[in-house]
């Protein structure tokens, strides 16, 4: 089997998904038997102008000026994978999408906020700019899912199965005591699974970093957040802005 040419590109993000690539240990070296890394700015100087088999794109699309670069990657790549939550859904960066630009600029840069290089637009998934074939979701991306998807793509599968059910399923499969039973709250019932539900297992709520399931029952979620999660109506309404701003019915 010829090695698959892979490249990594980054946009607005914390680069944590790229760093997760270094956290595999020995399996990473095994993966290098099938994968040739041809571009990865964070760890290497080499770049390529040749066609790429798989382009992993990290970061959200948050500046119009990034569109051209995204398009050129799309042109060169056979498969484009949104790498991590920022690229797949807009990620944490979309937490400011409901705010007014002048307001958030002023908040951070004060009187200097009118300098033009500080302008941004709403943080969107890269699919807002180019066609994306699949996503390795999560904040940070799930290493297990990375291996699962990449090995399938290497073996020629174009349509990789990824779960469409909520995080509660994975929570049950690992027998985590539900946050609600511990007197906490959780967005698991509307959150897209695939991560293996690490957060509730570690004792914190699921913040839905992979976005929402299709047909998420947002109304019921608000109700549960108030009735069982003990939140005020306002907090319950604002709760899902953290990672799922672009999924909300008001987005």
């Amino acid at each position: 089997m010829a090695k698959v040419r892979c490249a990594w590109f980054d946009f607005t993000s914390c680069e944590g998904c790229q760093i997760e690539m270094t956290n595999f240990g020995a399996p990473f070296l095994q993966l290098l038997d099938h994968v040739e890394i041809v571009e990865f700015r964070e760890v290497m100087k080499e770049t390529t102008d040749e066609p790429i088999d798989i382009a992993f794109i990290e970061g959200s699309f948050s500046r119009e000026e990034d569109r051209a670069r995204l398009e050129s990657i799309r042109e060169r790549a056979g498969v484009v994978i949104a790498f991590g939550a920022c690229a797949a859904t807009g990620g944490i960066n979309a937490l400011k999408n409901h705010m007014d630009m002048d307001d958030y600029k002023k908040c951070v840069y004060g009187d200097d906020s009118n300098m033009p290089h500080l302008d941004t637009q709403k943080a969107m998934p890269i699919s807002a700019a180019i066609k994306v074939d699949m996503a390795i979701n999560g904040c940070p991306m799930s290493r297990d899912e990375f291996v699962r998807i990449v090995t399938q793509v290497i073996h020629g599968t174009e349509k990789v199965y990824v779960p469409s059910y909520p995080v509660c399923v994975e929570c049950k499969l690992r027998e985590t005591v539900c946050r609600y039973e511990e007197g906490d709250h959780c967005l698991g019932p509307i959150a897209l699974a695939g991560c293996g539900a690490p957060c509730p297992a570690d004792g914190i709520p699921c913040e839905a970093c992979r976005g929402m399931v299709v047909d998420a029952n947002q109304e019921s979620m608000e109700k549960v957040l108030q009735e069982n999660g003990g939140m005020s109506e306002k907090r319950a309404k604002d709760k899902s802005r953290m990672f799922t701003a672009n999924f909300r019915s008001d987005a």
């Binding site: 599968t157 349509k159 199965y161």
Partner: protein, 285 residues
């Protein structure tokens, strides 16, 4: 039902498939491939028309597929046929197999058509699109044992002439004396000289239909309702109508639950159902 002997793999693991050799692989339409297959290790494939198998490729998964050949052929040649339409992950892996490659298989599974009940009766088969695959098994069976059946009528509808399956068979049936074959397409092309329209139009050409006729319907869900309405017009009782249903199936042996329609498991109680049994099951059709 056939006994389970064919089914049980190593360690008695019912979910462990056996190996099947691809003898021929012929692309018959843009999306369908016709396979001729043979069990490896000299095992026999002992099935009834209308039964199914779980066919797969290791690393991609398994999917339910209906036999497209008649057991009468398998008895003679030791081979059997499947037709696979490429729609997704597993079917893509299946259609990429070449002669000499290995396909994995569990089966035969399911009930199949109640052949004994059909014997000595008139038979009408209404097949739409890929619904011709599982019914081909029965058609071939009837044609091979023609004397066991009375009048045999076959309706076949497809979306376009290019999507017609088994073109060699169709040629034979068009000219055959012992089958009343009628065909129609939803949309014609410039070379099509036949009828254009929906499959139910073919009923208009029938002067009469013996209410004792045993009818098989297999095609897209939308077809069932309209065909059954036509049959009502000829007073065919629900007990004489047989439908072939499709559901997602993971195990094929009545465990995984995916194919369940109310009380019924399509993989065990079906895929062939007497219409009278399921007509009140809301989720069935």
């Amino acid at each position: 039902m056939c006994d389970g002997n064919n089914n049980v793999g190593q360690d008695g693991n019912i979910l462990l498939p056996k190996e099947v050799e691809v003898v021929e692989a012929k692309k018959v339409t843009a999306s369908e491939t016709h396979f001729v297959l043979k069990m490896k290790n000299g095992d026999a494939m002992d099935y009834k028309p209308g039964q199914i198998v779980e066919a797969g490729v290791l690393g991609y998964g398994e999917v339910p597929l209906g036999f497209a050949s008649s057991p009468t052929q398998t008895e003679k040649t030791g081979t059997f046929d499947l037709v696979v339409r490429e729609v997704g992950k597993v079917t893509k892996a299946l259609v990429s197999l070449q002669p000499g490659d290995t396909m994995t298989m569990r089966g035969p599974l399911g009930n199949g058509f109640p052949v004994e009940e059909f014997e000595g009766n008139d038979v009408l088969i209404v097949a739409g699109g890929i619904g011709l695959c599982p019914t081909r098994s029965m058609i071939k069976y009837i044609l091979d044992k023609r004397d066991d059946f009375k009048k045999f009528t076959l309706f076949f509808g497809s979306r376009t002439p290019a999507e017609q399956l088994f073109v060699e068979d169709l040629d034979v049936w068009r000219g055959a004396e012992d089958v009343d074959y009628k065909e129609i397409v939803d949309n014609a092309d410039e070379n099509w000289k036949g009828k254009v329209g929906v499959i139910t139009q073919l009923f208009k050409e029938l002067d009469e239909l013996n209410p004792e006729t045993k009818v098989i319907i297999c095609g897209p869900p939308i077809m069932y309702k309209f065909v059954i309405a036509e049959l009502k017009g000829f007073d065919v009782p629900d007990e004489n109508i047989f439908v072939d249903l499709e559901r997602r199936m993971k195990c094929g042996v009545g465990k995984c639950g995916h194919c369940q329609i109310n009380d019924k498991y399509v993989c065990m109680d079906g895929p062939v159902f007497r219409f009278s049994e399921i007509k009140d099951l809301e989720e069935a059709i």
